[in-house]
Amino acid sequence: MNIYRNVIAYLLLGAVSLIYIAPILFMFVGSFKPDENVLLEAGSWKAFFPESVSLQNFFDVFSRVNFSLFMFNSLFITLSIVALGLVVNGLAGYAFARLRWRGRNSIFALIIALMIIPFEAIAVPLFYQMTYLGWRDTYIVQIVPFIVNAFSIYLFYTFFIGLPKELEEAARIDGAGSMRTFFQIIVPNSKPVFATVAILTFLTHWGSFLWPLMVTSGEDVRPLPVAIAQFQTLPPLQWGDIMAFGVMLVAPILVIFLLFQGWFIRGVAATGIKG
């Protein structure tokens, strides 16, 4: 009975896996094929098993666009948001969870209320605001508006509120102020929540497309998602090059994901505690 069930489980997972592997493998294999064969062979077994392997498409990408610049831009923008966000939101979450001060509860309630405003609802006026300030086409416009995040503050808050009182008391007897307590005592004891927030922030902004599409024009600060969308429309249309671009875009993140996938999964699972 149980074996019967397990076989069904494996069969089901195997079938679903095919659907998941096909597009990804198609991209990887396509990146090694001559341009004209990518579409031609998409409907046959050759989509997954190339007859010849060549790195020409990868060289083409580098000669046609400044790929390393786009990669740097994406990394720089996303990591800046993550790093600055950890500090700013962590501090705020701590102040709400562990310090006593007037106005704390009402301000925190406000922040919780702000959580429900999705970015898309403010994209248009924010675009107008940033454009008006002359921040268009910079790193700043892609970083600064996203550092503070109400949901991150909330995640920090829920974690910090569960920490034992004794942690801080020892520090307080030493005469440490709140700021030092936070950095020396709280942060080292809160690695899981920092990892969770870091990963969620990374996932949100790594693929960001709508905003950079609106606020960047030149290549100088263009991130990868906009770069691939534009590469796809850049004549001449060469699908092998596009696939190579895609592989290079996704390879680093895939490596990071496979190395730290436990953290990724815990991070996403943590969103479920909301509500």
Binding site: L39, G177, M179, L237
Partner: protein, 440 residues
């Protein structure tokens, strides 16, 4: 160490962080402006120039022209920024709002009138030498003129036509038109499509370059409507689209185009290789396709005018134009660079790179493609006789966006009259909202 001490330090740190953030942001936000005050110290005029990304060879050529221009003299230094074509107008609009426009701006010709209406582009009349203006093709002057004044020039103009495979056409025994006047009548063209389809494996015989989308739709298919007697907008006061875009002539013409899709004559061309790989016999394309097509087909390649939908074959015109912005501190320097780009040898260089029609008569004479016996002489003849500029009104960005949507809808099988009615109503609403786009 007391807690207050730490707090003070931390407070200082936070203040520093906030402050440095503000400073860096203002620095990054304004670095373009900062180049100006430093300018008088060195007498070199920094010239910001924006161009569209175009084809690889075009990018290389303009880059090369800039390098040579910068090396040849010491007074003007050109800094080139390459912008993607996809959302070019949107990028320009956003930059204009932030007062971030460059000195010299390249833009798709028909957007000129909107930029002039907004006050971003300055008159060229006194900035360019008179003989140079005399040398420009009339179609270029027509495109660059608004309310009687010249605002923009181009180094090349465009050609639109049908490319064909000689062998396939001979096999169905069709006559080969060579001048705009001899263009196939529409019924003749449709018989040709049917005859070609019969001999074709999948029945798809015509490539409409559907891989381009965007501005291509307006450029390539508004001549269909014009040839039938309609237009994007009524052309005397430029106040109404209703009655032109949705006239029965326009509806009938676009219904014919739609029927080509329904008969499966059209190749979706997802790989941009429909014509070169031999899947289709005809390709509705621009001058920029010539080099690639010629390389693939050689002597098999023939060029014809677009079919005649009733009032004679019509064709699009206009391409990327250059305008000097009103905010530029160096209009003379910008004009100097423009004059350099318009030298016959530079015009020819660019024309060789993108296959476009050179914008000056002196360059055309020396062109092997467009000269007296050149294979693309047809495009020069079209520009002189049957080309129609896209509407010279500030409403153009909306007109083209709306028409593109209508064309997509028609392509995908929606009712032609409804699509064009809706488009005309949207355009008229926009004109009304902008109080007729009157230049004060």
């Amino acid at each position: 160490m007391g807690s207050r001490d730490i707090l003070r330090r931390a407070g200082r740190l936070t203040r520093y962080c906030v402050l440095s953030l503000v400073i860096t942001s203002s620095l990054l936000g304004c670095d373009r402006d900062n180049t100006e005050p430093t300018q008088p110290a060195s007498s070199v005029a920094e010239l910001d120039v924006w161009v569209h990304s175009g084809q690889q060879s075009e990018r290389d050529t303009i880059q090369n022209q800039v390098t040579r221009f910068n090396a040849a003299q010491r007074n003007v230094h050109v800094k080139l920024t390459v912008l993607p074509e996809g959302a070019y107008n949107a990028q320009v609009q956003a930059a204009a709002l932030a007062d971030d426009l460059p000195d010299l701006l390249e833009f798709d010709g028909p957007f000129l009138y909107n930029y002039v209406w907004q006050g971003h582009i300055r008159e060229l009349d006194n900035l360019l030498p008179e003989p140079l203006k005399q040398d420009l093709l009339p179609s270029v002057i027509q495109q660059g003129t608004y309310n009687g004044k010249l605002y923009s020039v181009a180094t090349f103009d465009s050609g639109l036509g049908l490319y064909g495979r000689r062998g396939d056409l001979q096999a169905v025994g069709v006559r080969i038109p060579t001048t705009p006047g001899e263009a196939w009548r529409i019924d003749e063209f449709e018989r040709l499509l049917a005859a070609l389809a019969k001999r074709d494996a999948d029945g798809a015989v015509l490539d409409l370059k559907l891989n381009y989308s965007g501005e291509w739709y307006t450029y390539a298919f508004s001549p269909v409507i014009q040839s039938a007697g309609g237009d994007l907008i009524e052309r005397t006061s430029f106040q109404r689209s209703d009655g032109s875009l949705n006239s029965s002539a326009a509806v009938e013409a676009m219904t014919r185009v739609q029927s080509w899709f329904q008969h499966k004559y059209i190749d979706p061309n997802l790989d941009d290789a429909a014509f070169t790989s031999g899947r289709v016999a005809l390709s509705w394309g621009g001058h920029w396709d010539y080099n690639r097509y010629h390389a693939a087909l050689g002597e098999e390649l023939v060029v014809f005018p677009l079919p005649n939908f009733g009032l004679g074959s019509k064709t699009g015109q206009g391409s990327w134009n250059w305008g000097i912005t009103t905010r530029s501190q160096h209009p003379q320097a910008a004009a100097r660079f423009l004059t350099f780009l318009l030298r016959p040898e530079e015009v020819l260089r660019m024309a060789d790179a993108n296959g476009a029609v050179p914008a000056t008569r002196s360059a055309i004479r020396r062109s092997h493609l467009y000269g007296e016996k050149g294979p693309l002489r047809l495009f020069v003849a079209q520009l002189e006789n049957t080309a129609i500029a896209r509407p010279q009104t500030p409403a153009y960005p909306v007109i083209t966006s709306v028409f593109q949507q209508a064309f997509e809808d028609i392509r995908n099988g929606s009712n032609v009259r409804n699509a064009l009615d809706k488009a005309a109503a949207t355009i008229d609403q926009d004109i009304e909202d902008n109080e007729g786009y009157l230049v004060r």
